[in-house]
């Protein structure tokens, strides 16, 4: 299928004629061809002859035919703002394939800009209820035993577009672009806990960043978190990018994005939460009765169809529905898709490997009969958690929670094949 906001350059010059001809006969394109986009070669004779390419590169760039960009946003509904005004930047989920988000397209959410810190001057202080109070350099951390793990990070506010109403003129980048999956490398938290000799009565840890706001969160030291958290210096095989916490950040697989403290400079062990601004005023979920859920740290079972999705246009006939599913509880066990507004469901194929607390791609063959309908996905994880439908989700959370939206996403398709965002 093609989308109105194609991520592929318009052909020009001598290609223009064949392109026009093509558009009149076959503009439906092929499902899933996000990179190649619409075809403009009717016969093999239209394919340009082979020629010697450009010089080899010192730094690999995307093809000139491919345009991928994040969507800087100043708040709900304030889209495509100048990056200097943005509070977050959303990943182009509708134009990505596979499960790994390219590093430069990993969503961003920062509370006082993206500092670029000198790693030679950066320090990590680990102290509090510990036998030793230690200061580490980045080199110290890189000399320690490391782990490498692929995990999703999701902003707690992902999905906020749809709490109260559904804007029909948005893409999946708008509705779900605050989640990404990268491979991260770093030092297990357990290793640092052993080095400093944590007092066993310490049940909470404060993690604090070196950004201007000194963003800090209290992290409960459950066995699961102590086993899985790590201090990362590597992102998709290279040092972290500044936007993602260079030189070091905390990774807490499956938990709120805000807990993955970037520009990490301090870990303090204590025996109660600190009640920072980010776990009281923010990242708490206001229910309909006026009470707010607090320390709802785990990101829930979620999924979204990325193609066909909002603002795309499809033609009757064969399509391959595809999308992403993820759960902070563990692995995705199954994804079901309905193409008849939730009346019947079919199980989608999952692309392997399916990793715990990472995004999983799913796909399903579908033939559209050209009649208006709605398509929706729902995921189930290996702990048995099922992504809720919108109605039961809102019945539980109300519409003021602002964070932790994981209701099933419905896309409506009208008779002309236009796909749009709807609540259900």
């Amino acid at each position: 299928m093609t989308s109105r906001n194609e991520n592929v350059t318009e052909p020009s010059g001598e290609d223009a004629f064949s392109r026009r001809k093509f558009l009149t006969v076959a503009s439906a394109g092929v499902a899933g061809t996000v990179v190649t986009g619409r075809a403009v070669a009717d016969t093999l004779a239209d394919v340009p002859p082979r020629e010697v390419g450009a010089d080899l590169s010192g730094h690999g760039e995307r093809s000139k035919f491919v345009h991928l960009a994040m969507l800087p946003e100043a708040g709900p509904g304030k889209r495509n703002v100048d990056p200097s005004d943005a509070i977050n930047s959303k990943a182009p989920l509708g134009k990505l394939v596979g499960t790994i988000t390219p590093t430069d397209l990993h969503y961003e959410r920062s509370h006082s800009g993206n500092p670029d810190l000198d790693p030679a001057k950066h320090r990590l202080l680990v102290h509090g209820m510990t036998r030793k109070q230690l200061v580490f350099t980045v080199d110290d951390l890189m000399r320690m035993p490391s782990i490498t793990r692929t995990v999703f990070i999701e902003c707690t506010g992902n999905g906020w577009e749809n709490w109260k109403k559904a804007d029909p003129n948005v893409t999946v980048q708008n509705t779900h672009g605050l989640v990404s999956t990268n491979e991260w490398t770093g030092v297990p938290l357990r290793f640092l806990i052993d080095l400093v000799g944590k007092d066993r009565r310490s049940t909470w840890m404060l993690a604090e960043g070196a950004d201007a706001a000194g963003v800090d969160r209290s992290i409960p030291l459950t066995e699961e978190i102590m086993d899985e958290a790590f201090i990362a210096y590597g992102q998709n095989g290279e040092p972290l990018r500044p936007a993602h916490g260079f030189p070091i950040r905390l990774i807490t697989p499956g938990l709120e994005g805000n807990l993955h403290i970037k520009w990490l400079r301090r870990l303090k062990f204590g025996d109660q939460p600190w009640m920072t601004r980010w776990e009281t005023d923010r990242y708490t979920q206001l229910l309909a009765n006026g009470k707010a859920m607090q320390f709802q740290l785990r990101m829930e079972t979620n999924s979204v169809i990325t193609s066909p999705s909002g603002m795309m246009e499809i033609r009757p006939g064969y399509h391959r529905i595809t999308g992403l599913a993820w759960s902070g509880h563990g692995k995705i066990a199954k994804v079901e898709i309905s193409t008849d507004e939730g009346r019947t469901w079919k199980q989608a194929e999952l692309n392997y490997p399916v990793l715990p607390k990472a995004q999983t791609r799913f796909q399903l063959d579908w033939t559209w009969d050209g009649k208006p309908t709605k398509i929706v996905s729902r995921s189930t994880d290996d702990k048995g958690n099922v992504q809720p439908d919108r109605k039961s989700f809102i019945a539980q959370m109300g519409t003021n929670a602002l964070f932790h939206y994981n209701a099933q996403q419905t896309w409506a398709i009208d008779a002309s094949g236009r796909v749009s965002n709807v609540l259900a």
Partner: protein, 179 residues
């Protein structure tokens, strides 16, 4: 997945082969003077609050000079977060979350503005100024009287209107002490 015991043993073995140093020889001890520079966090029981004090009256001046440009003259109507009012709106269709209507702890207010404000120069005011700002914002919300004053003894005793407005997630409400 990751086994801390195995990793630990592996680290010792690797260090013995490569380094004369002990396997634990990562980092260096922090001295108490340098810890003080960074150890700014404040808990609801007041632990971490610095010496100093500030009045509502002084806070009004500090606010006008450093905060009003973004937060509005009286903590509302600015381009950034509204800080005042909204009490009684949390269960409505349009809840207004402010320091007065939503924040459960006054210590959080001190901690946050002390570490993160003013936005362009966080931590640049004096400790007395931060106490004064805290006092002023609480008075704007009707929580402190106009002649109020705060220090490390009185601040933790302030009871915020929405103190009981939070439900801890069952999974993390009680973290067990490891054996």
């Amino acid at each position: 997945m990751f086994s801390p015991k195995q990793l630990f043993a592996g680290a010792v073995a690797a260090a013995l082969l490569v380094l004369p140093a002990y396997a634990f020889d990562f980092g260096r001890p922090a001295n108490s003077d340098e810890i003080k520079l960074w150890d700014i966090d404040v808990r609801p029981d007041g632990k971490g609050l610095p010496d100093g004090s500030g009045t509502v009256r002084h806070g009004k001046e500090v606010f006008a000079e450093n905060c009003a440009a973004c937060h509005g003259d009286n903590g509302q109507g600015g381009i950034k977060d509204r800080l005042v009012g909204g009490q009684g709106t949390l269960a409505s269709d349009k809840p207004i979350k402010t320091v007065g209507s939503f924040w459960p702890y006054a210590t959080t207010l001190f901690d946050y503005i002390h570490r993160a404000m003013p936005y362009q120069a966080p931590g640049s005011l004096s400790v007395d100024d931060y106490y004064a700002l805290t006092a002023y914002l609480l008075s704007l919300n009707g929580i402190l009287p106009p002649d109020g004053k705060l220090d490390k003894e009185t601040l933790p005793k302030v009871k915020m209107p929405n103190r009981d407005g939070f439900i801890p997630d069952p999974e993390f409400s009680k973290v067990p002490v490891p054996k």
